[in-house]
């Protein structure tokens, strides 16, 4: 580009450009058609690549959105579970309050703090103890007076309760049949209660209600224990036996009532 020929070349170049520009404009359509043979596949390939890239990026963004929504869903589920628990507790406490008012008993509310539920035993610990006036043998009820267990051991701040279906628990009960038969309800392995020592001459039917008789210390009468599920009688034996199904499942309650003193008025 140096030397004497440089201006000459520049002039030639300007002339070439001056000719080429109108020529290109004139043959614009033909040039585009000619180039389009090569441009179409190249442009198509690049567009496909772009489309795949955008789709991949959008998929990544969608994954992030889904993760965020899942987190929100989990949070809402936790809140809903908490709300449901509060609602259940509210219902239980209302029932218990109705029971206390109706039966005119002195009772204290307690929360279940731990449980031991198995085939061989069924017990739980409540947050009330001797400091609150709880003593062994006291009735533990839920809802509108359904007996779920008896206080077994007491510390100053807690009490261990064995449920009515625990084999270690025996409760003096009355069968709400025509003769108001007395008996002893003992827990069985599993979640059922066995009603023992019912004389053979007593009439006992399936679906008869079983309530506490009040014939033991610290236990008031009339607390619902369960309903007769099955009657087993043997003509050769002096007593007949019944299987009682408890009316309340202690696993479903987080708060209970401890009957401190019956019929306080």
């Amino acid at each position: 580009m140096t030397g004497r020929r440089a201006p000459q070349r520049l002039i030639v170049a300007i002339i070439v450009v001056a000719v080429a520009v109108p020529a290109v404009l004139f043959f614009r359509g033909a040039l585009l058609r000619l180039f389009s043979f090569a441009e179409k596949p190249l442009s198509g390939t690049a567009t496909w690549l772009t489309d795949r890239t955008i789709a991949y990026c959008e998929a990544l963004e969608a994954d992030e959105d889904v993760s965020k929504l899942k987190e929100e869903r989990d949070l809402f589920a936790l809140k809903a579970a908490e709300l449901e628990q509060f609602r259940d507790e509210n219902g239980q406490l209302r029932d218990e309050l109705n029971f206390v008012d109706r039966r005119n008993v002195r009772a204290i509310a307690a929360s279940v703090v731990s449980r031991e539920l198995g085939d061989r035993s069924s017990s739980f610990v409540i947050d009330r103890g001797s400091a609150d006036g709880v003593v062994p043998g006291m009735a533990i009820v839920v809802g509108e007076g359904i007996l779920v267990g008896k206080v077994n051991q007491v510390t100053q701040a807690t009490a261990t309760v064995t449920s009515t279906s625990d084999p270690r628990t025996a409760t003096a009960v009355t069968l709400l049949n025509q003769t108001r038969t007395l008996g002893l309800a003992e827990g069985m392995n599993g979640s059922l209660i066995s009603l023992q020592y019912i004389p053979n001459d007593e009439t006992m039917n399936v679906n008869d209600l079983v309530v506490t008789s009040g014939l033991e210390e610290n236990m008031i009468s009339g607390l619902l224990v369960g309903v007769v599920n099955q009657v087993e009688s043997d003509a050769s034996a002096p007593f007949q036996k019944a299987i009682v199904e408890p009316l309340a499942d202690v696993r479903r309650f987080s708060s209970v009532l401890v009957i401190i003193q019956g019929n306080s008025t």
Partner: protein, 166 residues
């Protein structure tokens, strides 16, 4: 005449790749200045000065076919061509990788400054003209470095291979 024909065909091929393939790629790959990088490599390393006209041809092409608004690219690329020839004569006489990279980035910078200046001037009269995206310039520089590096490495090796076969 034969050299001119080969040069025109090569220019057409690179032009087609640039305006159809590269511009259709996803961001920021669509900012790859393939034509500019190849031009700088051929002019600076190979000494094929007539290839510098590719820059003018590219600017004219994109303006004539209204891919960009007239006449920003024609002027910007013409300035780039003049800058390239001037730089080769005055500064970047060394045909090393660093020389090519420095020359390429400088030409690109001058082209972008020219483009920015023209765009700003045109915006004074027509507010609809879009502003220059500086991120485009940044990515162009990144890809220019990569492309010039690739050209320097592979083209040189291929050249050595061909000569050894001959």
């Amino acid at each position: 005449m034969r050299i001119a024909l080969v040069s025109i065909i090569a220019f057409a091929c690179i032009l087609i790749i640039q305006v159809s393939f590269v511009v259709s790629l996803p961001w920021p790959l669509n900012t790859m200045p393939i034509l500019l990088a190849v031009t700088v490599y051929l002019v600076q390393y190979r000494g094929q000065y007539q290839v510098a006209w590719w820059l003018v041809g590219y600017g004219l092409w994109v303006d004539l076919f209204a891919i960009h608004f007239t006449p920003a690219d024609s002027i910007a690329y013409a300035v780039a061509m003049l800058a390239l020839l001037a730089l080769l004569r005055k500064f970047f006489t060394n045909r090393s990788l660093y020389g090519i990279l420095a020359c390429g980035l400088t030409v690109l910078f001058i082209k972008d400054v020219a483009s920015f200046a023209i765009t700003t001037c045109v915006q004074l009269f027509d507010a609809r003209v879009p502003s220059v995206e500086w991120s485009v310039f940044a990515w162009e520089a990144v890809f220019a470095v990569v492309l010039l590096g690739v050209c320097f490495t592979f083209a040189k090796r291929i050249d050595v291979l061909i000569r050894s076969q001959a």
